[in-house]
Symmetry: C2
Subunit: 411 residues, 2 copies
């Protein structure tokens, strides 16, 4: 199925990644669902590695999400096992057994406790995960673990993805230079049979788990949680950040430690880079769209309005049709439920204000707007004219490709 999907026109090249001392990856073809491709990824982390995680808000999460949430309490990580093709979601006791069995096997190979092994599965929902194929493949992967295995891992976790996703950033903590590097997969928040959103990042910084958790949550709120493809939230969404401590920087005491300012900014940039790569691979996506909302009664209200516009099928189909259809934007603002006043509402596309204070701008020149709509990156600005609140969201357009990918049989 994944093989039949053409590479997204919004795809970006895989970046030249560095290594993160203490982090090694291996990928293998375990034949869980796909043929002739890698579908199993193993990672090992040096002793002393701390971990932070953010997971789906979906109330029917997969067994691996439950496993990670529980393991996160320990705050330490030594291993990660990710499979593609089967999400191990809605599989009852069999799903829990698959998690325990996989973690136990990996722990034995890595010489750690099962609770130090983190798990992610993506793919079809409701089918029992044949985890024996995973435990059978793991032993041969251990000797192949490599600090250069990041791109192989990025490819091994792909499902409906049409290109592998990675990013690298640098920062100084105190006087110490550290690296942050991550990979991601998925098509945004949507949860088709064969996809979900995963992100695994690591740094060589010394970071207490509690500090890293606060930083990661804020970064995810500013990146992945501001993106949407079609408003459907996966049961498996997982973002994990590992810190090996190999850089030997002085341990920060709290997330707001001034010494962490540069690292936090770099982490924000990394997460946003990966989140936008996911949107660029949104199913059927032809255009990347950013919605900026100002004049809201609060930042949160403005963000909700931006997400309402980003989630509107009518706005997204209009963008697919290269139609600067601000009437649909008005509709989406109004349906958001957030404070909005038709008569103070202004809308711009590509920097051209088409409507101001509740009515069309008399004789505005549509030419630059039409030209902007033909591009691959679309900008929409909305001024609610009520207050000082601002927010934004990213999405993609809604095309026939989305129907093609999601309207077909699983088999």
């Amino acid at each position: 199925m994944a093989k039949s999907i053409a590479r997204s026109p919004l795809a970006v090249p895989f970046p030249a990644l560095r290594t993160v001392p203490g982090v090694r990856f291996a990928a293998a073809a375990a034949g869980i669902r796909y043929r002739d491709r890698t579908d199993l990824v193993l990672a090992s982390f040096a002793p002393g590695t701390t971990v932070a995680g953010v997971f789906t808000r979906n109330l029917c999460p997969g067994a691996p999400v439950d496993w990670c949430r529980a393991s996160l309490a320990g705050g330490v990580a030594r291993g990660l096992v990710v499979n593609a093709g089967n999400a191990n979601v809605f599989t009852g006791q069999a799903g829990r057994d698959a998690c325990a069995g996989t973690a136990k096997a990996a722990a034995a190979l890595l010489g750690c406790a099962p609770e130090a092994v983190f798990l992610s599965s993506t793919g079809v929902i409701g089918e029992v995960l044949p985890f024996e194929r995973i435990t059978a493949a793991l032993p041969a992967m251990v000797p192949t673990l490599s600090e250069d295995g990041w791109e192989a891992a990025a490819r091994g976790i792909m499902t409906t993805d049409t290109f592998p996703k990675g990013a690298v950033a640098h920062a100084r903590i105190g006087g110490t230079e550290v690296v942050i590097q991550g990979i991601a997969k998925g098509s945004g928040m949507i949860a088709p049979d064969m996809a979900t959103m995963l992100c695994f990042a690591a740094t060589n910084a010394v970071l207490p788990a509690s500090v890293m958790q606060a930083l990661l949550k804020r970064s995810v709120d500013r990146s992945f949680n501001r993106t949407t493809v079609d408003s459907d939230t996966s049961t498996s969404d997982t973002v994990l950040l590992f810190a090996t401590g190999q850089a030997g920087n002085q341990a920060p005491g709290a997330a707001d430690d001034p010494a962490l300012a540069e690292f936090a900014a770099a982490l924000d940039g990394l997460m946003l880079d990966l989140a936008l790569q996911v949107i660029r691979d949104g199913e059927g996506a032809r255009k990347l769209v950013r919605i900026d909302v100002s004049g809201g009664v609060s930042d949160e209200s403005a963000r909700r309005v931006a997400m309402a516009v980003a989630n509107s099928p009518l706005v997204k189909t209009a963008i697919a049709g290269e139609d600067a259809n601000w009437g649909r934007i008005v509709m989406a603002v109004g349906k958001s439920g957030e404070p909005a006043d038709r008569d103070t509402l202004s809308i711009a596309v590509g920097g051209t204000w088409m409507a101001r204070a509740g009515t069309i701008v008399p004789g505005y020149d549509e030419a630059p707007v039409v030209a902007h709509m033909r591009g691959q990156e679309i900008g929409i600005e909305i001024d609610l004219g009520l207050g000082a609140g601002s927010g934004h969201a990213w999405t993609c357009d809604l095309t026939h490709g989305y129907i093609d990918i999601n309207g077909s049989y699983r088999s």
Copy 2:
């Protein structure tokens, strides 16, 4: 644009309507936007006619919605003017002037106060309504007002609709037989350039406005407000019910008057009939879908879960693909935000339980499910297994037709 759309395969024939004493309709081609078709409808109501209305919850409503809300305070109606092709939404002062001018002209012709004239406009958003074309056409329509004008009116209010929509019901109030009859247009809750959802119904019963308002609100909550095509809420949605009082039944004192039980049930049936006709004309619709949710912590919670499933693009594309993809149903239940427990969740399609208590039913026979999915009417049952709350929702599938209709330029 509308002409290019093929008739919905879910279309139903226009029923044989009766007349409602005291209600007369006329339709004309005013050339507001369309050519070679009627696009303007005028209705007159006998003196003493009461009125009730329910309108869009969109916070950026059209000027006609504001006009109707204000006029509703009077509780009396003598006229109705509806145009297709221009929604008079987001048109600022010009929109308010168009409403006042249209109502004034109709009032002069019908011999009533402008506030007794109700207005609805559907079509493109953000373009000033050329209401002079309406006021110019109205005088010639008055002599053609007819109690048999219902079907002509149903056709005159169509936009992207592929078939006219009407329904008739009967009931006794006390010993008096009364008729309730209505027409509707639209493609559900969605708000494309050229469509929205409107419903106009009338009865010859004697009904105080306040009593009728309570009955209508409950009926709409049980019908139109349980349907969705794509979660986008129109800025013009309007349901109006007129009572001419010609039947001479004894005036009921309150909505819960036992004498109104049969009428209330008939009204519910009429509104549901019309609401489902709208969903049957949902843009690109190929299948009509009903989602029944039981076992919720409350009826409202169950209803919200049903709407979350009905609004899920992934569930709707799966149905379009005739794929009984219950994994996506699990996802939609989980993303609803309502209390749900993966391990007590059961799902059936077409009466076949595929998943029970959080896992797939061992070796369930997919054959009857596959056969059911090939049909035009799809039934999904969800048992949350938490409480006694139940609720339901109706929707249609999401197909290439939706993209075709909404992804094209306005012009």
